[in-house]
Structures are given as structure tokens and as C-alpha cells.
Symmetry: C3
Subunit: 349 residues, 3 copies
């Protein structure tokens, strides 16, 4: 399947002020990276600092920003636009629409839909999916094979659930969301009252409310709230294997990378980013626009926007061992330095 350059530019013309330099009849067969593009590929230059790589690219056409227009035109066909990365993102969406075979809108005969569920006539439901009583599946929703939609759960317009997603009783997903395989939305939060050395279960009576345009990664878990709901606001992006504890609140357009753990009742602001493997402890707050580096542990509220980090720098084993051992004496070393300062003042006097 191929698309003409002219067709690509035309399809995005209502949204972008882009200019094509080159043959509009050129046929594009594939999207690719600058380095790996071959003669029928379309690619992009994410940042002018990589302009030096332009000349070597064999691509049919490169999407570039106006600042590199001259060398780009010298190389060959190009599309000049203000934000090449976003423009290319939209081309990937166009490509996906043209090239993926959407399942026919249909309910697979093996799916089990409770008679008390409300499924829109144009929703598609995959093989062996289960839709519980009182569940609402809105218009244009696509639910893949093996999904389990619990009693009274709701999936908003145009959302897509990949294979094996669990949306538990009473939980809701907004519109245009994408949920990847194995995600579990609405398992019980981890709540127990200690008693005589044992743990008494606190039943988790809240739900999970997920906004619009949220993406949830494979095998990611979002627990239901204890009394109130766990809330994920509009536009949040969660990568794979993330744990979201009960009653967490994540503000709009925040993104969490893979393997992040957020403990119960943490409140993360809007427009934050949290790097892979980071841990956010419970019952604390992050302001809007807080950025946490990968593998860092957030142990206190952070009320000032900015970048925060905390992990032990990697070293060769021998170096690490020496420094890690000395680290256990760090406080004592500080005392020695104080003592030295005092002695030196004494001897200087």
C-alpha cells in the first residue's frame, strides 16, 4: 500500500501550514527513521541539530523545520513545517488508518453479553469477551478478545480495549481511550487494618474513574479506591507494568513511563512526567509540571515545578563497592571534618 506525497500533505492541510518541495506524485511505501530510510520512505528530522545527518539519508522525502529548509531542499524532496515531530506523528496516524485492517463492526458470536448490558449498535466485541449486567459500551467502542467488563462498568465513545483487559465492577473509562493487553482496572486496593499480628481486610468500596484520551499500557494495574474513587484525568498516558494504588489522583496530561509505582492516595499534578521505575510514596502531593527522573523515589510532597532526581550513580563494581562502603561512614566523616576545622583554627590561633 502506498500514498502519494501530495495526498499526505493534502490530508493534513486543514491543520498544518506545510509546504512540499519536490515531486507531489512521488509514491511513499513506508515510514522510517532518517538513518534507515530507503528510496521509497518518508522520514523526518526531529531537531535542527541533527541537520548534519540529512545529506546521508536515502529517504524519498524528509519532514523538516523551516530552519533547515536550504540543506533539505538541496538533498531532495522535503516537507517544510513548523513542528516536524508532531507533523510526523499525524502521518503515523494516517498510515495506521490506511494500513491496518480494522475488525468489521460486529459482536463475535462467542462473546458473552449479559442481557442487562447496554452495547451500542456500532460497537465491536471480540471473541470470548464478557460484558456484565448494567455495563455500558458506547458508540464506536472496540473491545478485543478476552476482555472482561464488569457489572455496571462503562466504556466511553470511541475507546479501544485490546485483548485481555479487565475493567472491574463499577469502573469507567472515558472517550477515545486506548487500553493495552492485560491491563487491570479496578482490582482491590491494598488496604488492611493490623490486628493481633494479622491483617483485617478493608473492603475497597470506591471505583476507578478514567477521563478522556487516556492511554493505559500492557499489564498496568489501577486499583479501585477504598471509599472514594481513584481518578485518572484527561489525556494521561501510562506506560506498561505501572502500579497505581487506591485513591491516587493523576492530573490531566501527565505521563508515567514503564514500571512506575504510585502508592495509595498520592496526588500527582497535571503536566507532570515520571521516569521509568520511579516510586511515588503514598499520601503526598506533586504540583503541576513536576518532572521526576527514572528510578527516583519520591518520599515527600513536591510543591515547586521542576526536575527532581534521586538514584545512586552506576559505576564499575570495584568503584561502587569502595564508595558504597564509605557511604556508611559519611556522617562520621562529616564530624571529622568539623573536628579538623576546629583543630586547624586552634593551631592557627
Amino acid at each position: 500500500m502506498t500514498l502519494k506525497l501530495a495526498a499526505i500533505v493534502e490530508s493534513l492541510s486543514s491543520e498544518f501550514d506545510a509546504r512540499l518541495a519536490g515531486d507531489p506524485e512521488l509514491l511513499i511505501e513506508r515510514l522510517s527513521t532518517l538513518e534507515q530510510a530507503t528510496a521509497h520512505d518518508l522520514t523526518f528530522l526531529s531537531h535542527p541539530k541533527y541537520a548534519g545527518k540529512l545529506a546521508q539519508s536515502a529517504a524519498a522525502c524528509v519532514v523538516v523545520s523551516p530552519s533547515v529548509e536550504a540543506p533539505a531542499i538541496q538533498r531532495g524532496a522535503c516537507i517544510i513545517v513548523d513542528d516536524p515531530y508532531r507533523y510526523f506523528a499525524r502521518i503515523t496516524q494516517l498510515w495506521k488508518r490506511h494500513h491496518s485492517a480494522e475488525p468489521a463492526v460486529a459482536v463475535h458470536p462467542s462473546a458473552f453479553i449479559d442481557p442487562l448490558a447496554a452495547v451500542a449498535p456500532d460497537a465491536s466485541i471480540g471473541a470470548f469477551a464478557c460484558i456484565g449486567p448494567g455495563a455500558v459500551v458506547a458508540a464506536g467502542v472496540r473491545i478485543a478478545e478476552h476482555c472482561v467488563i464488569g457489572r455496571n462498568a462503562a466504556v466511553g465513545k470511541g475507546s479501544r480495549l485490546s485483548a485481555r483487559v479487565t475493567l472491574a465492577e463499577g469502573c469507567s473509562v472515558g472517550e477515545r481511550c486506548i487500553v493495552h493487553p492485560g491491563a487491570v482496572i479496578g482490582a482491590d486496593g491494598f488496604g488492611f487494618a493490623p490486628h493481633d499480628g494479622r491483617w483485617e481486610k478493608i473492603e475497597q468500596l470506591g471505583g476507578v474513574r478514567i477521563g478522556n484520551d487516556v492511554e493505559i499500557g500492557a499489564n498496568t494495574c489501577i486499583d479501585r479506591g477504598a471509599l472514594q474513587d481513584t481518578v485518572i484525568e484527561d489525556g494521561v498516558k501510562l506506560d506498561n507494568l505501572i502500579q497505581i494504588g487506591h485513591n491516587v489522583h493523576i492530573g490531566a496530561h501527565t505521563a508515567l513511563a514503564g514500571c512506575v509505582g504510585v502508592a495509595g492516595s498520592a496526588r500527582i499534578g497535571a503536566h507532570c512526567t515520571i521516569g521509568g521505575g520511579a516510586v511515588v510514596l503514598g499520601h503526598l502531593a506533586l504540583a503541576d509540571h513536576v518532572h521526576i527522573s527514572a528510578a527516583s523515589v519520591v518520599t515527600r510532597s513536591i510543591l515547586k515545578p521542576g526536575n527532581y532526581t534521586g538514584f545512586f550513580p552506576i559505576d564499575d563494581n570495584a568503584g561502587w563497592e569502595k564508595n558504597a562502603a564509605t557511604l556508611k561512614q559519611l556522617h562520621a566523616l562529616r564530624e571529622k571534618i568539623k573536628q579538623l576545622e576546629k583543630s586547624l583554627k586552634g593551631s592557627a590561633a
Copy 2:
């Protein structure tokens, strides 16, 4: 659905010595937190130190300890009991029983039950579940949609498996356990013998034995043993996305928070707690009553009860970078301090 205050207190009267101050006919519509409770809600005060918040609460009734009886009664209706948190935990259980629609005891027609499986007549088996030959499903068990119970596996009385749980061949779960969606019990442990730069698989011939009253979180994995079994004792609570390696032994009533990883053959005592994202290395032992902070790495056996921690404190980026860079010189700095001490002694002499 509502419950009268009198009915709530009465239902727990055999177990707790609780006293109701206020109108026993008051109808409770919801359980809530102290801050969010409205005029028909029941809530609790977990600790006397929060007594200052009592006056502001709009709750219909608050569960409190005797030490705050006076201000609680002044505010309005209250239940006075020695351990308000546990009392409230039991109310959440009562609420859950009254408010959740239990599936009718039945085997869904789409479930596949091997003729050689033994399923108790009052067990319920969800849609598309698979029960293998020789498997035993005891009385009162509830197995939800899409569970896979392997050959010769066993589920004890009254246990509940949520959707999409895998219990592999020969593994067993005790009585009154709760297993959340996507949990995998009995996948192969990670065992390989190195040979000529390749890995020779060591087949994992042990199983997994899980005690009574254990709770296992969503997408958590417990590997089968290599030769002997992996063992989880009674009352253990495992949160989501936890990895338990082969031949691990976890003592009774220990609790692990989300994203913890426990490597093979580690032996964790009873009544321990391990914070979220912590890593316990293999072949080591933790005594009973050891508490590990979140994100800490346990690299040696810990034989003394107590609290242990090890993670790099978070800082703003600039601060972290300066200190992390200096950390690589820490051992050298210690040598310099020694040298300074020597020099100072020399110059003082």
C-alpha cells in the same frame, strides 16, 4: 441501599464491645472519609491526633476511640470502640456483603471443566474458565471469568479467584484466599545452567503452595519451585505486580507492597513488611518482624528485627547532580581526611 446505625452496631456486637451514642434509627447511605463525609455517611477517626478534624466533619456518625469520646459526642452521633480502624474495616466487609451482587452459585455454560476435575456443587465457575483434569475446587469457591486452573491444581474452601487468574499444574491455594485479575501462580522459575555462552534450561519440577487467608494482587507472579515448592504461608498479603522467584518462602502474615521483587530461594520471616518497589536478592534470610522501606535493596540476610532502608534521597536535579558526582570520589575524600588528620597531628606536634 441503606443500613440503620443500630443494625450496624448489632451486627458486630458479638465481636466488639462498642457503644452507640446517638439515634439508632439513623439511616446510613454510604461509608466515607472524615473530610468527605456528608450527612448520611458513616466514617471513622483513625487516631486521636486527628481529633481536631472532628468538629468540621458533616458525617452522620463517626467511629472513635474512648479517648475522644467527649468531643465526638459534642459533634453528633458516634460509635465508641477500642480499635476504630479495625471496627471500620469490619463495617466495610458488612457493606460489601450487603451491597455487592454476588454471582449466583452456578457453573457458566461456556466454562470448560475437564471430566476428571472435582468441583464442589456449590462452587461457582465463570464464563470461559478452564478447569484441568485432576483439579480440585472446594466448597464455596468462586472462580471468575477466564481463569485457567491447571491439571491437579487445588483451590481451598471459600477462596475467590478474580478474572483471568492462572493457577498452573499441581499448584495449590488455601482457604479463604483472594486472588486478583491477571495473577500467575506457578509459571516456571528462572533457572538455567550456563554452558558455552548459552543457557541450558533447568526444568522447574516443584510447585507453589499457598496457605489460608492469603491475598494476591493483580498481575502478581509467583513462580513454581525448581525441585521443592515455593511456599506462601497463611495470612500473607501481596499487592499488585509483585515477582516471587522460585523456592521463595514467605512467613505468615507478612505483607509486600506493589512492585516488590523477591529473587529465588529468599526466605522472608513472619510478620514482615516490605515497601513498594523494594528488591530482595536471592538465597538470603530475613528474620521475623523485619521491615524494609520502599525501594530498598536487600543484599544480605537480616537476622535482627527492625526497620531497614536504602535508597538515594531525592533532590532537585542540580543538587542531585553535584552530590552524585562527588559520590564517586567519596572513598578518595575519606583518604584525604585521614591524611589531613595525620598532617594536623604532625604540625601540632
Copy 3:
């Protein structure tokens, strides 16, 4: 089920030069560890340094290396071979073949196989599995219950997929691979272009290509590439709950322990090992034979083979708190030491 010692040695005789000292008619009932072996068990001594434990073992027979032949024979029956651990690994495989009831080669009547899928006549397909149009399932493949094999995906000869594995559209698994329950191969990579405080999805148009003899743990996720494929080479072993980002490349025979996260476009060499819970950041390279300790964070390319570590050493809480607090002054302390050195030189002059 039992095996005679002679039969065990005979079955491996084409591959190993092993010698049996003891009664070849001895019946072995079980494989076990040196410590736990009873009178009908076969076990092994992994390393001569544990030879002291030999005398206490009640095992029927012990696999040992030539260096401990004398004490081993004094104890009782033994098999003498150059690499006892690998020899024992092969015995576990023999045991597994003899003792596990392989599913009859068959397609379960409940499985849904698209008419356009190509399934080898001797492949077995479990209950409720879904095989999409254009998918290829090669000879001898075993696909367990509830697997979802997407459109145009491929599973190579002799591979085994456990229950609930998702292999997404267009992704491929090589020959003789083992994939454990809940693994997700080919979910979308985490790719977004920021725009006006929101995230614009970059459709993930690449796939996942997995080589031969790869093992993939339970609930592990391997994302599809953005434009090119994510690649896992031959012989790679991935433990449970691992996250592999889009366009990662993992070289042959590398092993990753549980809970590791590898961010997008990282390139890990061959014959590497990465400890549990480690994090590898994106767009960096690890040479062949690089070994990363558990819980370490790889923040830069590592081009030299060797062992690398970086985590904060665990301590009792009080010790950690003192040292962690001082750590925030580390850079300032270094400046003080410099000052002291200067002062001392001055006072010495």
C-alpha cells in the same frame, strides 16, 4: 513414576562422558536438593566447595565432578561428570518429559481459528485460544488456553505458549521458544509528540521479532517498534514482569532477571546479564558481556565488558537517615576538605 539410574545415565550418554559408581538398578523416584534428598532421590553437587555437605546427604545418588570423586564414592552411589550442574539440568528435562502429561495434539473445539490462519496439523491449540487471519502456527507448536495470536503473527516450530499469552498483529516468535502466562508481545510502544501541553500519539508501526530458543516470563511486556521492529535475538532469557520498550535490541544469549525495565531504543549486547529490578535508560548501548547488578540504573552507554553496580546500600533506619541527610551536603563537604588542605599547607609553610 520412577527411573533406573542406568536408564538416566544411558539417556544422556550420547552427550556426556559420565560414569556411574553404584548400583545401576537403583530406582530414582524424585529429583531433589543435596540437603533435602531422601533415600530414593537423585541430586547433585554444584561446586566442589560444598563437598563437606556430601557426607550428610541421604540421597540415593549424587551427580559430582571428578574432583570430589573419592568422598562421593565413599558416601554411596554417584555419577561422575565434568559439569554436574548442566548434567543435572538435562536430567530435569528428562524428568519433565517422563512425568508431565503432554496435552494430546489437538485443537480444542472451543478455540477460534480464523479461516485465513495457517496452523500446522500437529500443532495443539488450547481452549478459547484465538488465532487471527494470516497467522502462522508452525509444526509442533503448543498454544495453551486463552492465548490471542493476532493477524499475520507467527509462531515458529516447537514453540510453547502458556495460557493467556498475547502475540499481537504482525509479531513473530522463533523456534523452540517458551512464553509464560500473561506475557504481552507487541503492545504499542510509548511514543507521543508533545504539543501545547498535550500528547499526540505516534502510531507504532513496527513489530516485534523474537529469535529461537528465547524464554519470556510471566506478565512480561515487549513493545512493538515505532517504525522499525523491536528485536530479541536467539537464546535470550527474560524473567517475569520485565518491560522492554519499543525498538530495543537485545543480543543473543543475554539474560534479564525479574522486574527489569529497558527503555526505548536501548541496545543491549550479547551474553549480558541484568539483575532484578535494574533500569536501562533509552537510546544507549551496552557492549557484549556487560553485567549489571540488581536494582542498578544504567544512565549511559557502557562499552567495556565488566560488572557494573549502582544502588544505595541498605542500613538500619537510623544509620541510613544520618548518612542520607549528610549526602545532601556531600559536595559542600568536598569544598571544605579542599579548604582545609589549603589552610594546612598555609599553616605548614
